[in-house]
Subunit: 448 residues, 2 copies
């Protein structure tokens, strides 16, 4: 049997490796457009923060290991241009020599990932205007900082990657300004928590320009000018980080169904609307465990897991993924910021009757030195009592604490049941009542 | 209605405060044997570690606040000696003036806590032989260290408190040796994880004497000699920390049922075998969420929660506690040590067919600087596939991670379902596959 995989990053290579472990006899061909496979994309901001580190440090496994040790037919520089679902053929061109290629498949996995969204307006293709999605982008950014001795950068967008890059660039002693058209920092977040993030950015001398419509970018000598409706920002580098979108065009053109956020629609088995074709990773959608409905939350763990699930199903070991809770965490300077489940706006949108509570607690016990404030926002459904989502911000004890709420969401726990969970306590690690439990206790009062 | 509470620590004062908030008109009388109420008992080792800190820093709320602001009739130095369940009267003596007292109750809460177990053998009552259960003990220890310029201490027992105290005494630059009769350090723990704890203790120059039967303690001048079967240890202070036992004699003498570990037996509503009498805190038992059977795991969160539940039931707001997962964490030098659910031995004892896995993972992502090793032991039931327990050890990212497994146990999740949970990922906080997920994936292979 011939298993062809389009895309050699998290989902694609996870699937390839897994199939080869389960059924070493299967023909596994991976067609990767770029030259890089299997690297830690999320680690790029931290690598960029350190001028002395090589971008290749992020490579988890080299193409050679996949080829020689795992027996995967890994072809880099192979750009798939079309899928013929009737005859089960993928075709495209080889970058190096422009030759055309065609591969027959019995099973196909589309793992084409996502790409940074580029805003409308002129000048986003100028040199020095960069985005960060793959290793090549990372190398371009590091080279640009070095060669142009960048002293100031503007980041367009204020999401996870924008914030991680703000920290990375400040580490390099580069002045950073961030700009976005929307009026709110982290609009999915409870306002009180978003204010804490805002303060942390400002405390680290990152200047925020909210509510600025960006008209375009101009260039003069070594300077880029980001022209907004009411101001013009000047920098030697512009990072575009307003979000990503799924690389689903190939699938759509082949007639496969797409859905939420234009991602490729897959069932619980990772199958697309063509049962011989699977999709996994940032290009594919997922079920949300709270709503039971489709969502598109492109994150690394899901990509790896979906790659495995597709592989298992291809190998005949039927595997079903229940879905995602939308759990995410990021670090911005000294703050840990985490979320799982639905935001207030999403809760409304999906027909719940959400009630929220925001509390302040401490990261260590009463009288234990070094405690930091932890903010918790918890959302429950007035109708059913179900826990819908949690958000946390704080300087310590946030990143892993969110997981307790994530597991609760997978089990569709009520706020009442969650408030009764036996969470760990010792003075160096938190108060007797974990901040999540204090929030649950407060929320219960509002729900009853 | 008259609500009498015996014991003014975590469970007792939680209950008293809660009742007064819900029904301010209720007569609430708290009878506390000592002079201290509402302090952070778990914080004592960290206070002892610092010669300059006052033990009173650990007091969360003073008796005066309870009396004047909350209207609780809090009587300290009141030692209850008997309960007449037929006439609903508690009686005893006042320490200060030796007068007898009697109080009628409509509802009674027994929150008498626990006490350190003192081993058989002579000399455990000598000056300089100390235990750590209440603030008075803490004050005695600090005074003894100061007045006798203690240079070396022996800790009898190697449980949570023994280890926390080993760290506290090393902080004070006191040499520490630990001794116990059993052959294993932390016998409930997977051997590979216990070895890590052992190494951490030794790296901090704590000498362990395992398998040493202790015959008794002798005293010469300013020195105490701990006489074992095959060696004699000498120190200026001996801390006895072999465990605690419930203060349940008062209840037993009144004819109330006791059970596991001699703790007072309570139902899901915290009622004893006499429905007008509740018990909560370290003196009472609980249901275990994994086995569904009775257990006795005296921990602070349960004490607070049980106090609240008793209070709510007394106020007519019916409240049911499902039980405990046995989640616990402690810090020993640079290590975080955590557990939840059943150990391997307990799993066997309760009729499961346990399969375990121990893995090593990292506290940060591939290529992220500063990563530490995290060891995870996970236990599942071969028959049902159910997750039974988790243990973790590591220098960072352990304390709060365990909570995800705890919530899974509350939901009686299968290892398969747990392995699919959407846990948070960012490079500074862990690998893409959280250590718990890696362990679950490995365990799944052994279960299938």
């Amino acid at each position: 049997m011939k298993f062809v995989i389009i895309g050699g990053d998290a989902a694609g290579m996870s699937a390839a490796s897994r199939v080869k472990r389960t059924m070493p006899e299967m023909d596994v061909i991976v067609l990767e457009k770029t030259d890089d496979v299997s690297y830690s994309a999320c680690g790029m901001p931290y690598n960029i923060a350190d001028a002395n580190r090589d971008m290749n440090d992020l490579v988890v496994r080299t193409a050679d290991v996949f080829r020689k040790k795992q027996g995967i037919d890994l072809l880099t520089g192979y750009h798939v241009k079309s899928i013929d679902t009737k005859n089960r053929i993928v075709s495209g061109t080889v970058r190096h020599n422009r030759e055309r290629f065609r591969f027959f498949y019995d099973r196909l996995l589309i793992a084409t990932g996502g790409r940074p969204t580029i805003p409308a307006g002129s000048g986003f293709d100028l040199p020095g205007v960069v985005a960060l999605k793959n290793l090549k982008d990372g190398r371009i950014i590091k080279a640009h900082i070095r060669e142009h001795t960048v002293k100031k950068a503007v980041i367009v967008g204020m999401g996870y990657i924008g914030m991680e890059m703000a920290e990375a660039l400040r580490e390099r002693n580069i002045d950073v300004e961030m700009v976005k058209p929307g009026p709110d920092l982290l609009p999915w977040m409870a306002r009180e928590l978003a204010r804490v993030v805002n303060q942390e950015l400002e405390a680290n001398r990152v200047k925020l320009h909210l509510g600025c419509e960006i008209k375009g970018i101009d260039k003069t000598a070594d300077c880029l000018h980001i022209v907004c409706n009411d101001r013009t920002l000047t920098a030697e580098m512009v990072l575009v980080a307003i979000g990503i979108e799924p690389n689903s065009e190939l699938a759509a053109e082949a007639g496969l169904e797409t859905g939420v956020g234009n991602a490729i629609a897959v069932n619980h088995q990772m199958q697309t609307s063509d049962e011989r074709i699977y999709a996994a990773g940032d290009c594919a959608d997922a079920y949300h465990v709270v709503t039971g409905q489709k969502t598109w939350i492109p994150l690394a763990l899901r990509a790896n897991r979906a790659g495995w699930a597709a592989a298992d199903n291809v190998c005949g070991k039927e595997t079903r993924l229940e879905g995602v809770a939308g759990t995410a965490v990021f670090k911005v300077f000294n703050l840990e910021v985490a979320r799982t489940g639905l935001s207030l706006e999403e809760s409304h949108r999906f027909g719940f009757e959400p009630v929220e509570v925001t509390i302040k607690s401490r990261s260590r016990a009463h009288a234990h030195p070094g405690a930091e404030t932890i903010w918790v926002n918890l959302i429950g459904d007035k109708k059913s009592g179900q826990l819908l989502g949690a958000q946390m911000v704080g300087c310590e004890g946030v990143a892993h604490r969110i997981n307790a709420a994530a597991v609760a969401l997978h089990n569709r726990m009520s706020v009442a049941a969650f408030s009764q969970t036996d969470l760990a306590y010792a003075p160096p690690f938190g108060p007797v009542w974990d901040p999540l439990l204090t929030a649950a206790n407060q929320l219960l009062k509002k729900l009853s």
